[in-house]
């Protein structure tokens, strides 16, 4: 029988025709990727500022004395009633067979690269009800929290405020050993990562809004600093939380 160690240690790549790109082309593509990432971050920041600033500007306009007609805002229909309680059978621990419920929200504040970065149930605005489950893994852990707000506007304010803090922190900590990475965001969700040590410990966060509720998932793992591992972690979190988001749509969406 052949010794597998000999086979492995003599492993070679016979006949492999290496035709790599010239180093200058690799650098050109890398520089382009870097510019694109920075441009996307800048656009995201401007968009978030605009979203937050617009209601403030509209509120401030109430004191003006010019003759311009006041901007009218679309108020929610008075008939809309937002669910204020998490149903007893809500599947918050879906896909977490060893999850344990926690009585109070355990913040990951010690992991934050910037003071006051992370989400807090105390707001502002404050959540009206929060449930949290936690599962310890051999090589990490998963926290999932569901927060219910008074209405959709309050939930949006909490999410957008967090999104703005993430973008601000990502800019402030760029290039530092501990830094926050703004991975992605859209109209109802965001992903960001707190890279907390040089050995690659990271907390990957997903925030998803449905109606007046936010789902917050945090996964502790290793492999930080590597974009491919970050993306893989994000993909896995999105996949695992999808059934919970679907359940939120049944309960909290209008």
């Amino acid at each position: 029988m052949r010794d597998p160690l000999d086979e492995l240690e003599n492993f070679a790549t016979p006949g492999l025709t290496m035709d790599p790109l010239p180093a200058s082309e690799v650098r050109r593509r890398g520089s382009r990727m870097r510019r694109r990432n920075h441009a996307l971050a800048a656009i995201g920041g401007v968009a978030a500022v605009a979203i937050i600033a617009t209601p403030l500007a509209m509120a401030a306009s109430g004191n003006r004395t010019d003759t311009t007609p006041p901007v009218t805002t679309q108020s929610p229909s008075p008939s809309v009633t937002w669910v204020q309680e998490i149903p007893a059978d809500f599947p918050l621990a879906d896909g977490m067979p060893r999850a344990a419920a926690q009585d109070r929200y355990e913040a990951q504040s010690d992991a934050d690269a910037c003071n006051g970065l992370g989400w807090s149930p105390d707001g502002p605005p404050a959540a009206v009800e929060v449930q949290q489950v936690h599962q310890t893994e051999n090589e990490g852990g998963v926290d999932r929290a569901l927060a219910v707000y008074a209405d959709e506007d309050a939930a949006s304010q909490a999410r957008l405020s967090l999104e703005a803090r993430v973008q601000e922190c990502a800019t402030a900590t760029d290039g530092k050993a501990r830094y926050t990475e703004d991975v992605s965001s859209d109209a109802s969700s965001l992903f960001y990562v707190d890279h907390v040590s040089e050995i690659g410990e990271m907390y990957t966060h997903q925030v998803v809004q449905v109606g007046n509720a936010l789902l917050l998932t945090t996964v502790y793992s290793l492999g930080g600093g590597d974009p491919a591992i970050v993306q893989r972690t994000v993909d896995l979190i999105e996949e695992k939380s999808a059934p919970v988001v679907d359940a939120m749509k049944d309960v909290f969406a209008q």
Binding site: P4, G15, P20, S24, R27, G30, G225, D226, A228
Partner: protein, 164 residues
């Protein structure tokens, strides 16, 4: 890392890393593409690369994760089979033993294959493998032990078949 340092690093390690990633995923073209992409990202994130104790490990891990991610996305999207999941494309005629080894590696669980390649082909000590994979050393030792046993059995089966 300035341009010259990066160019030297690229020239010195591209082929070596490609060979290692090939051993992990069993597809040479895919390995080469992923290593190429990993070097592009390395330049894009060169400030972080400068902080890394082992830039080559950073590139290798990135390339490997890219390959895994491509494979998962292909499976998840149920797209037609492409090179990422198809049989390994052999551009030259490798030896029978080489083909058997690659085939055997591909049959191992991902974690065992990765540990074997990093320890025996990339020649990393156990503690470096543990750091690169992000698990305790004991876990790597167990994966190596099980992986060697499984590889020996697979190669023995293949040898028996070829002699039958």
């Amino acid at each position: 890392m300035d341009e010259r340092e990066f160019d030297d690093f690229y020239a010195a390690s591209f082929q070596r890393i490609t060979g290692q990633v090939y051993a992990m995923i069993g597809n040479r073209d895919e390995a080469q593409e992923c290593v190429q992409e990993a070097f592009v990202r390395a330049w894009a994130h060169r400030r972080r690369l400068e902080k890394a104790d082992h830039p080559e490990a950073w590139v290798r891990t990135t390339a490997y994760r890219l390959a895994v991610s491509r494979w998962r996305r292909t499976v998840r999207g149920r797209r037609p089979v492409d090179r990422a999941v198809g049989p390994a494309y052999e551009s030259a005629a490798p030896s029978e033993a080489h083909v058997a080894l690659v085939a055997a590696l591909r049959q191992l669980p991902e974690a065992q294959r990765q540990a074997l390649v990093l320890h025996h082909i990339a020649d990393l000590p156990v503690h470096d493998v543990a750091r690169e994979v992000g698990v305790p050393e004991g876990t790597i030792k167990a994966r190596l032990s099980r992986g060697r046993a499984a590889l020996a059995a697979l190669l023995a089966d293949e040898e028996g078949l070829s002699h039958a």
